[in-house]
């Protein structure tokens, strides 16, 4: 069994809790906060229940703006559209900004198999790419990596000073290194935080400016988004841009909020609209509100389980409360184990800026999936013991001994926990 680094667990727990605290301060500063959440939820419910007309409107406007629109029903089509675009344009060097959709669809390994050098430009994603690893949080992808590890990595990859793990020094080293990639890129790609039906524009929110730097230089720009990113109009962007960064990182807004509709002069702008299972979520009466998700990561920062176990403890690539539910939609057999990583404290549901009923969805999924033969047997056993007072008293009588035996055997689930002392039972009368 892997040794647990408790100091790191505590650090991650405390750090994410600080992010949650920043969010709370900003939320409390706005008397209209709950009205904003309510508006966000209702706009999303409207959009997701009117997708055909809004998508149609988006496409018409986007084409009128000079963009080229592609449709992908699944991950394979998404990969192929982007692969074909890059190969037909002779792209060798490709820069991309953070996109959960690209992780979902396995874009990077596919492009690398085509011989296209693909560089992640978000600092956290770049660290993860160079480590050959995967993000452990959707907004803070390298939250689990310590500065010394980044220092050692950059020393090897970028020739930084040995032993220097100062975040400012390392960030600026990455800035210089990635700037070379930006200047020599043949194409750039972003995801989208929002796709606006009334204007045919896509909106990208970042703090680093990597998406902006990337899309400002090469002659080919690609933006890809899932159909649930559609919002009806700019008026609704007022709601979402006020909620997104406040919830995600505790900032009033991201540093850059960029609206792309027409191709930059002398360049091409391609938009890829992707389903990949979203229409099935829409058809699921118990789970369609998952499509409200803004991918802000707020539910991870507040989750008492996620903060301690981190993203790698989950089998799906998106961890935390929303990841548990998205994983169940993607492949319930494979990901039902994640359902255990929840105390049903509902902190995520209370915090979610678009009011996804995250904890209730986990509860409902448990009713369908979290029943194994072993659990049924335990449940039957408990019913048997608890139905008769004398049986319960007898069981409590032997429990202290049982605890000592379990301690002696060193059961793994007891590590890091205190075993309870079970008091002697009082005799109860029927």
């Amino acid at each position: 069994m892997k040794k647990i680094d408790y100091a790191k667990v505590d650090w991650q727990d405390e750090t994410l809790w600080l992010v949650r605290g920043k969010r709370d301060r900003l939320a409390k500063a706005l008397p209209e906060w709950e009205a904003l959440r309510d508006a966000a939820s209702r706009i999303k419910l409207y959009s997701n229940s009117h997708l055909p007309e809004l998508l149609e409107q988006f496409e018409t406007r986007a084409i009128a703006n000079g963009a080229v629109v592609h449709w992908a029903k699944d991950a394979a089509e998404y990969r192929q559209i982007i692969g074909d675009l890059l190969t037909s344009h002779g792209v060798r060097h490709f820069v991309k900004s953070k996109s959960m959709l690209s992780e979902e669809c396995g874009l990077r390994p596919y492009l690398e198999s085509l011989g296209i050098e693909t560089v992640e430009t978000d600092l956290g994603e770049r660290i993860i790419q160079l480590l050959g690893s995967r993000p452990s949080h959707i907004v803070l992808p390298a939250i689990h990596v310590k500065r010394e590890e980044v220092g050692a990595l950059f020393e090897k990859e970028m020739g930084t000073e040995p032993g220097n793990s100062d975040p400012t020094y390392l960030t600026h080293a990455a800035r210089r290194n990635l700037r070379e990639h930006f200047l020599h890129a043949d194409a750039a790609m972003t995801g989208a935080n929002f796709a606006v039906a009334s204007t045919g524009e896509i909106v990208v929110c970042t703090n680093e400016g990597n998406a902006d730097m990337g899309t400002s230089i090469p002659p080919l720009q690609i933006a890809a988004f899932g159909i649930d990113k559609i919002v009806p109009d700019r008026e609704s962007l007022g709601v979402f841009t006020r909620l997104l960064a406040r919830t995600a990182t505790g900032q009033p807004i991201t540093t850059y909020t960029t609206h792309y509709s027409a191709p930059r002069k002398g360049s091409e702008f391609h938009i890829v609209i992707v389903d990949n299972g979203r229409s099935s979520i829409l058809a699921d009466r118990e789970h369609f509100r998952l499509l409200n998700c803004l991918r802000c990561g707020g539910c991870m920062n507040t989750c008492p389980v996620y903060r301690r176990i981190g993203g790698y403890a989950y089998s799906y690539f998106i961890p935390g409360p929303v990841g548990i539910n998205l994983g169940m939609q993607a492949d319930p057999k494979k990901h039902k184990g994640n359902l255990s990583a929840c105390t049903l404290c509902h902190s995520c549901s209370v915090l979610c800026p678009a009011k996804v009923d995250l904890a209730d969805q986990i509860y409902r999924s448990r009713q369908h999936y979290a029943t194994s033969a072993r659990k049924k047997l335990i449940s039957k056993g408990m019913t048997f013991v608890m139905n008769e007072p004398w049986r319960l008293n007898a069981a409590l009588g032997v429990a202290p001994l049982g605890m000592r035996v379990l301690k002696g055997l060193g059961f793994s689930w007891g590590k890091g926990r205190a075993f309870p002392d079970i008091p002697s039972p009082k005799k109860t009368k029927r």
Partner: protein, 169 residues
Amino acid sequence: MTSKESIFEALRSAKPEIFEKPDLSALKRDSLRYDNLQEQFCKALEGSGGKAHVLEPGEDVTAAARALFPDAEEISVVEGLFGVAENGCVYLEEPRDVPRVTYFISDVLVMVIPAAALVANMHDAYDRLGEEARGYGIFISGPSKTADIEQALVFGAHGARSVGVLLRP
């Protein structure tokens, strides 16, 4: 069937519960207002790591930009359309005389906006923009930043390391 058709087919057969579009007018009317937009804008900009300066009538823009960043070797000065008081951001569109990348590749970026062109919040900002496609538009609030290494805040991730806003009378 094209991919678009099969996606639309799947969406229609999903038969979702239909929700109406919410009316946002009450939310927008009741959102937090500020007594002094300029004061709030400057405070929010400083909170995001930027610097603000209100120009005197007739004050030279270049000299004022230099005074904000006396150690800068080179400063890019660009024109913004308006600012947003709640978060200190400035809205810009495609620049006229320089390539777009100027907004991001410059070490020091100074944005000039009319002092009168301040709105309270993002609702007002988008109302001002309306629903017409505008080609390209961006809100910038302060310098480029990251906290991807141990949540330590660092300015100058990829874009400008320093950002100033000059409010022109």
